[in-house]
Assembly symmetry: C2
Homo-oligomer: 349 residues x 2
DNA sequence: GTTAGCACTCAACATCGCCGAGTGCTAATC
DNA sequence: GATTAGCACTCGGCGATGTTGAGTGCTAAC
């Protein structure tokens, strides 16, 4: 393990590099950070740190730059200490901002990404709640007019989906109720694909007049169930990547941006580490995908009834302000959890 | 008006500049385009065209670059000729791609933006249908369990909204139906804000036991109505801006990107020209907002039951491939109109 | 073990000259 | 009178060259 002084030198370098993005020399550190030793000593320490893989040089006579390994050490050692103070005032401010603008769950997630990006000046990511294998709690058919029926589906999580369904013939209300009852019997507590053909046939027999209607209804129910399970992904503040001096190389930033804009790929990344703890940090080379090799990603989870259902995150250069961002992410994650658990408004997605 | 030959010279320059992004000299044109005159003649014509404001030079001895005025002329004269062939095969391909991935209206719009950006390699914009002053057609309260009620709202356009509503006390089903009936009586064919306090008080009297519930219900109804009227805006392929050589200046592209990512501003732009024809083109300096002064925007509308309800668009450098993009936008606009008019699946937003 | 001192390295920046694409003008030609 | 060939001139782009300064690594003294 690194001794006390090496630690302090390394932290000083990381601290300086995070705020300036410039390679740091021994003299700069000895002046700006009060370590009580001369630049020459620091120079020796830096040489050791480089040998240990914590620092890199861009060329023989340049200052040093922290390596991914250094950031990893930095983050790991501070994340324990950081049980402290989340800023209560800031938290309630953010919460009320989120609540103010969000009429629906979708909007909440979208606004979280926007606000997170605004506050941090980094690119923000947000994942909508992920519901696996929805079980149907409740089905209802309601007549809108003679040839339109409103289908309503409620799942076990209280999510509601609806679809308007056009019929070829008018179905009287009592028949509709009968079909509704039948559907409920068949579907309740089942995921859609558990519905077997047996009971379908049975339905056709009982409501032979509406065979066509029922046949067309089933795929619509299926679609609705599927879209309950769909995950939406929002990325906000992509353009902010251009503010970082490390991304002044247009080709580099282009590849990162197109990665972020490719929802499928990005989803992969975010769902990959789903086993992990509340805060997950992936630094530089730790990322599997090439375009992200000089980015870091921090993600935090949010919960519905104690269970992790979604994520928010931040993406930026490895030289990111980890401590500050972790704090803000925690605030957002807590707030989102609180809001979705108390939702008494629309829980529609 | 410009004479025939000047026209042909100008088009040649525009054509060349659109594909190369390089200033064009007289010699290049005389070789690449068969105008039957020497470079010296073209040089004279170019000099005239510059004087007339159709061409610009980047410096004294450089080639010429088309001005906004030139693009305007170019677009205006071709847009009339361009009643021709939209590619039937391409159209059905795009349509089925859109239909395949879109379970809901929201998704359709989002996918349109994504696909449009993919196909064109430009940044694409899409606006969800805009519904003004929704009138309520139908209200229904359904019990989910003892303390949760599902509120369903259908508006005149067939849009459906729902919200789950927690009650303090259990409300028996027949009472819920009575309240539903009452709400329908009061709200049908009214926009929410037309509801006056008189009829509210009336309701309180009739259902005094549920005074609190009803009081809390009203703002939820209101929120739902509001969110029916909300417009969503999607921008896809923002990173593609970096592919254009004119945006190699990082500061320029940064300001454009942050403009595009600011939904409110962008919405302003897109709603501004809403009086206009199906295809609207805004070239360079014609844009009001400074960051867009060297961009062009093409928008196309899509319709629901014959009425314009939304837009899709493309944004890029003034040197954009107008003719090709207009064709593709028309295809998308037709397809979206067709799909939303035939929606028999979920019309939920 | 720490520090002062010094030679050495190298990116960044400015300067200079050359090259070539392109213009504008003039005089010859159709 | 319109078109064209010819030529002097302009100017951005590019590579070569030199200078500067921040920073290192090593050695010798404390």
């Amino acid at each position: 393990m690194l001794d006390e002084r090496k630690m302090r030198v390394l932290y000083a370098i990381i601290d300086s590099y995070i705020s300036t993005a410039e390679p740091i020399g021994s003299r700069t550190i000895s002046k700006a950070y009060d370590l009580g030793v001369s630049s020459a000593t620091i120079r020796n320490e830096m040489s050791d740190l480089e040998e240990l893989g914590y620092l890199n040089k861009t060329h023989t006579s340049s200052g040093r730059v922290p390596s991914d390994k250094a950031y990893r050490l930095y983050v790991d050692s501070f994340i324990k200490l950081d049980k402290d103070s989340i800023n209560k005032k800031q938290k309630t401010e953010i919460k009320s901002a989120l609540e103010r603008e969000s009429k629906e769950l979708d909007q909440l997630i979208q606004n979280s990404a926007r606000l997170l990006s605004q506050i941090t000046s980094y690119t923000a990511l947000a994942l909508s709640p992920q519901i696996k294998e929805t079980r149907i709690k409740y089905v209802q058919l309601l007549p809108i007019d003679d040839y339109q029926v409103l289908l309503i589906l409620v799942n076990e999580n209280g999510l509601v989906k609806n679809a308007v369904f056009k019929t070829e013939q008018s179905i009287p209300e009592n028949q509709l109720m009968a079909i509704t009852n039948m559907l409920n019997e068949r579907l309740r507590n089942k995921s859609f694909n558990q519905l077997n053909n047996e009971s379908m046939k049975d339905m056709f027999n009982q409501f032979y007049r509406y065979k066509n209607e029922i046949e067309r209804l089933m795929p619509i129910i299926n679609k609705s169930v599927e879209s309950m399970e769909d995950i939406d992904l929002y990325a906000d503040g992509i353009g902010r990547l251009l503010n970082f001096p490390e991304y002044k190389d247009i080709d580099k930033v282009k590849s990162i941006m197109s990665f972020i804009e490719d929802k499928d790929q990005l989803l992969n990344i975010l769902l990959l580490d789903s086993i992990s703890r509340d805060i997950h940090i992936s630094i530089g080379q730790e990322n599997i995908y090439a375009p992200l090799k000089d980015c870091s990603i921090i993600t935090a989870t949010y919960k519905l009834e104690g269970e992790t259902v979604g994520k928010i995150g931040i993406i930026g250069p490895t030289r990111m302000d980890y401590l500050r961002l972790i704090k803000i992410l925690k605030i957002f994650s807590d707030n989102i959890s609180e809001i979705i658990n108390n939702y008494n408004g629309s829980v529609k997605r």
